[in-house]
Symmetry: C2
Subunit: 294 residues, 2 copies
């Protein structure tokens, strides 16, 4: 991994760790359940995007950090709820038992709810607001709220359960993924731009970049499911074909899926090319996502 | 019902109705599920508190309305999730089948998630922020986030599932209810004060008032469960004794519970007495809560 990204990830890990401290008292268990999923060593792609776009826009890491953490909290909450028995009923997540397998269903539900609220608590706490000013804080929190809601992630998940077992068109699959994963990736880039004070041109470039890598990321997920190595990927593969799921690979064929992912990555890179060296980390990040093996 | 409160409720109903429009498309079902619970004719106590405290502080109904609606969205989401099979497994809510009975579990989960996000979308939308300024909007949204989270409602619910079937002390029961119901009632009053621009004295009075009526409301709930008329209350009663639940009535005895509820109401009224006629609606509201039959 690029060392600048590694530094971002370390910064985010430290901030996330202190956002869900170990607590005693009657609410101990729900905090533990929140910790379990939030501190599970994910890739932290979304907070890294927020950090890098903030820096590219002229802002500092310190200013954007609470917002970057909030984005990861929303991501983490959505994974807990997606894994619940009434949704995907997933027993494992990133090689560990899923939240409800460890903490049982009721507490996993609450841990997800708690993380979604904590995201907004984190962005709207006095210090975070004071550091960037209330206008930027309110705008960034509004972007995250819309990305999380029924026009974003919740909407994408609703399409998913509605179309379960049905054959989707490519357009429908793209609409579903635009909600399920695209919305939060787009919001991460936008929030970075808002906090950093980006101009319109950079913000538009960030949107293009994020939309392209969001879709490329999802296509690559399906490619990995079809071709990847289970040990390297760290989860059960070939799920999609076992469940007869509509994926980019089943709809496009493997070859076109691979080339489409490469094309989107090139599109993302092109959007940031005008920013030259300053955008190098983001350009490398886009390229590493297409070549990832997990 | 007091006619001023009735006017508030009508205003809130209209705004809530337009916040969850009927939509076509692939996300239609999740919006319908959100509508089903949000527009179920609840008492709208929390938004009324926000409206009245905003007006008492010198603000307008229009300014506080998006925030009042957001509070009700949080209340509605929490009821949907509380009713789920893994939590209270409640088949009915306000005399109608609960959300998951109508829309099935996965969609009810998403409808709750969607309403929690929608609360923040509503408070942080451009118009709402512009009307009150970003500083007030960020402060109000922060108050709602903390009230919803693991130190508020989620925390109270976590205590509830942790202590299920155990004998609680009165102090533990109060701590649980302070999270489950008290936090949001307190937040409603505070948000009204923030948006209206209340001074410190009024804000402190609002906190005292809301803490007292929040607890009185909960005690009254238990009193109604023990003594009320099922038809008037509109739900199955004597649940608490059947389930051997710890309640204020089982812990204090019926007589002391009734007198404690009256004492708290008097405390709430006393907090607002310095504001005289301007606070009359809130004073009547506190009194009507103790005398309610449903």
């Amino acid at each position: 991994m690029n060392s600048a990204i590694q530094k971002d990830v370390e910064l985010v890990e430290k901030a996330l760790e202190s956002s869900v401290p170990v607590r005693g008292g009657m609410q101990e268990e729900v905090w533990n359940a929140m910790r379990y999923s939030l501190l599970d060593g994910g890739k932290r792609l979304r907070p890294v995007l927020a950090l890098e776009f903030c820096k590219l826009s002229g802002g500092t890491e310190e200013e954007v950090l609470p917002f970057a953490c909030a984005i990861e909290m929303v991501h983490s909450y959505s994974l807990i709820h997606d894994d619940l028995p009434c949704m995907d009923n997933a027993a494992y997540r990133r090689g560990r038992p899923s939240n409800h397998k460890v903490y049982r269903e009721a507490l996993a539900l609450l841990a997800g709810d708690g993380l979604l609220s904590l995201a907004f608590e984190t962005m709207l706490q006095e210090d975070a607001v004071a550091a960037v000013g209330p206008a930027k804080a309110a705008e960034a929190a509004g972007i995250l709220a819309r990305a999380s809601g029924a026009c974003g992630m919740v909407g994408g998940q609703a399409i998913d359960i509605r179309t379960e077992g049905k054959r989707l068109t490519l357009e429908e699959l793209e609409q579903m993924d635009a909600g399920k994963t695209g919305a939060l990736i787009l919001a991460s880039a936008e929030i970075g731009c808002v906090i950093g004070g980006a101009d319109c041109a950079l913000r538009e470039a960030a949107r293009k970049y994020a939309a392209a890598i969001g879709l490329a990321f999802q296509i690559q997920d399906d490619v990995l499911d079809a071709t990847g190595d289970e040990v390297a990927v760290g989860k059960t593969l070939r799920n999609d074909s076992v469940n007869e799921k509509c994926t980019y690979v089943t709809l496009m064929g493997l070859e076109r899926a691979v080339s489409e992912s490469a094309r989107l990555t090139e599109e993302a890179v092109a959007a940031l090319r005008p920013y030259g060296e300053a955008a190098e980390v983001l350009i490398e990040l886009a390229e590493s996502l297409t070549h990832r093996k997990q």
